[in-house]
């Protein structure tokens, strides 16, 4: 079961979105999040949704695959949505629907809940499109490149990127190791499946400790191997792979700029999220 996570979620097909520069895609991602939070009414979110659907179609990743990533945080979405439904404390211009103890449900709280859930949903969908269409390596390269200005304030950008790529590289290795340790502990009678939460949490300790010890040993080995291959930090280092910014990226960014402007206009002309109640009530 652990082996599925190995390569993040990268979905290997060729598409317009896959071919975009990782840096552009990260900027894209940030702008997309900004657009989600700028939207003050449902029309804005509708525009963002339409945009998302368009991008997913363009990326040739099946919708089911993108939705699967939402499944993992579905609980979180539902939980925050319910909290918002019960404890929304804003003004209400309509009669409360339910009033019981400390819980009040109004039309506004329902709207608020739906709005929040939709935002979270769009957020997760968008970010997973990024990880589905970009390899972890390209992603770290992109982050390194985008953080380059921070070098001026002596922020170790190269080191950070290297740490990230090594961490990614070691995920499968440590997964294998974990499986081996679990098997070894089971063979000696360890029980991971039964008992309450605390008992199970305690059972994890005999897995974690050997894993940690072995990770340190591996780190030492890797350090030697890197030293032996002349590693001496970012100074005087060249880079084999270069990211190239193409017309695709320009097009994408222009398009996204359009989306943000659109959302802002929708905000101005179509009012807040509650104005939608006016159409129905």
């Amino acid at each position: 079961m652990l082996n599925d996570v190995t390569f993040g979620q990268y979905y290997p097909v060729k598409s317009f979105v896959h071919n975009m520069d990782a840096r552009a895609k990260i900027v894209f991602m940030i702008a997309y999040i900004v657009a989600i939070f700028l939207a003050k009414n449902f029309f804005g979110l509708l525009a963002v949704t339409a945009f998302l659907i368009f991008v997913v179609l363009l990326s040739r990743v099946p919708f089911g695959r993108v939705l699967r990533s939402v499944k993992m945080i579905l609980f979180l979405i539902i939980f925050t949505a319910i909290l918002n439904l019960f404890f929304y404390s804003g003004e209400s211009s309509y009669q409360p629907l339910v009033e019981w103890w400390i819980i009040t449900i109004t039309w506004e709280s329902i709207v608020n809940m739906v709005f929040l859930a939709l935002r979270l949903f769009l957020l997760v969908m968008g970010t997973s499109v990024l990880t589905l269409t970009t390899t972890p390596v390209a992603l770290t390269d992109g982050i390194e490149s985008l953080l380059t200005p921070l070098k001026w304030i002596k922020f170790p950008v190269h080191e950070l990127a290297l740490i990230m790529s090594i961490a990614l590289r070691f995920i499968p290795t440590l997964m294998d190791e974990t499986n081996r340790i679990v098997a070894a502990q089971k063979a000696r009678g360890a029980d991971f499946e039964t008992g309450g939460l605390i008992k199970r949490a305690k059972a994890v300790v005999p897995i974690l400790i050997p894993l940690l010890v072995s990770a340190f040993r591996r780190a030492e080995d890797l350090g030697d191997a890197m030293d032996a291959r002349c590693y001496s930090g970012a100074k005087g280092r060249t880079k084999y792979k270069k990211l190239v910014f193409t017309w695709r990226d320009l097009l994408g960014l222009l398009f996204l700029g359009g989306l943000i402007t659109g959302v802002v206009f929708l905000n101005i002309y179509l009012g807040g999220k509650f104005s939608i109640l006016g159409y129905f009530l």
Binding site: V137, I166, D176, L222, D227, A228, R237, Y240
Partner: protein, 278 residues
């Protein structure tokens, strides 16, 4: 030319103690030689290897690599460029999750221009016969393939010496064969100086010279054939003979007229010859 020179080298892992992992080794290795360093666990053979590319610095004595003193930190970078090292665990040597990026790591570190790195990756992957796996992920490869990638990673730096620190110890027989074939080829075709640290006696037979380490000292030094004909002495250092040599020795003891053979073919011929005499 002398590739590596040890002069009365001592090394201790802890400063205060007198216990030396390497205790007074003096030897030199010629360029182009294929040297096997044998010894049981804790004999100091890995410590010796790590001093060649300045991962460890001798406590006493001096190590020189192509005339450069390994104790001088100013030489460290140059020495590591000329002496590459492959380690034991195939999983702990790759830095990137794609073969090509990993091989590029060394050249990137020494500041090779981008176009040149591409050529070096081609060269290194061709040399180890892994060109087809250029875009593969190391974690999906077999142990022998991973170790060949590690060798390619070192080759891309274009060193003159290749040190293999028990690089075959964690491999299955097939993987071990793959790695041995690659380093033998490098030695024969490219004149690469190879220092092979191992505890597999059969691997030592493929070398030009064998050095036996025991308790931090180089106790035997000669061609593998010379070393393995001194079976009793080897036994005092807790080492065994290569399989074929062991069998021929036992046969001779049992009264069969076979001369010492070191590999399977020689042994087979000896046995045939002795059978004809009967």
């Amino acid at each position: 030319m002398e590739a590596v020179k040890f002069e009365n080298v001592k090394f201790s892992y802890r400063e205060e103690e007198d216990e030396f992992a390497v205790n007074g080794v003096t030897l030199s290795i010629e360029e182009g030689q294929f040297v096997a360093v044998l010894g049981r666990n804790g004999s100091g053979k890995s410590t010796l290897a790590k001093m060649i590319n300045a991962l460890l610095v001798p406590t006493e004595g001096s190590v020189t690599v192509f005339g450069l003193d390994a104790s001088d930190p100013k030489n460290t970078f140059e020495i590591r460029k000329s002496a590459g090292m492959v380690f034991q665990n195939p999983d702990n040597q790759t830095v990137a999750s794609i073969v090509e990026d990993d091989v590029a790591f060394g050249p990137e570190n020494i500041g090779v221009p981008r176009e040149e790195i591409g050529k070096r990756i081609d060269f290194a992957l061709d040399a180890v016969g892994m060109q087809a796996y250029r875009h593969a992920t190391p974690s999906r490869l077999s142990g022998g393939q991973k170790q060949r990638i590690a060798i390619a990673g070192v080759l891309a730096v274009m060193p003159k010496i290749m040190i293999l620190d028990e690089s075959t110890a964690m491999l299955d027989p097939k993987g071990r064969r793959e790695v041995m074939d690659v380093i033998k080829k490098l030695n024969k075709e490219r004149g690469m100086t190879v220092i092979l640290i191992t505890h597999f006696m059969d691997e030592a037979l493929e070398a030009d010279r064998a050095i036996v380490m025991h308790r931090g000292e180089a106790v035997m030094d000669g061609t593998p054939e010379e070393i393995f004909s001194r079976a009793d002495e080897l036994e005092t250092y807790n080492l065994t003979l290569p399989r074929a040599a062991y069998i021929s020795k036992k046969l001779a003891e049992g009264g069969m007229p076979v001369k010492g053979a070191f590999n399977a073919e020689e042994l087979a011929e000896e046995i045939c010859a002795s059978l004809r005499k009967i």
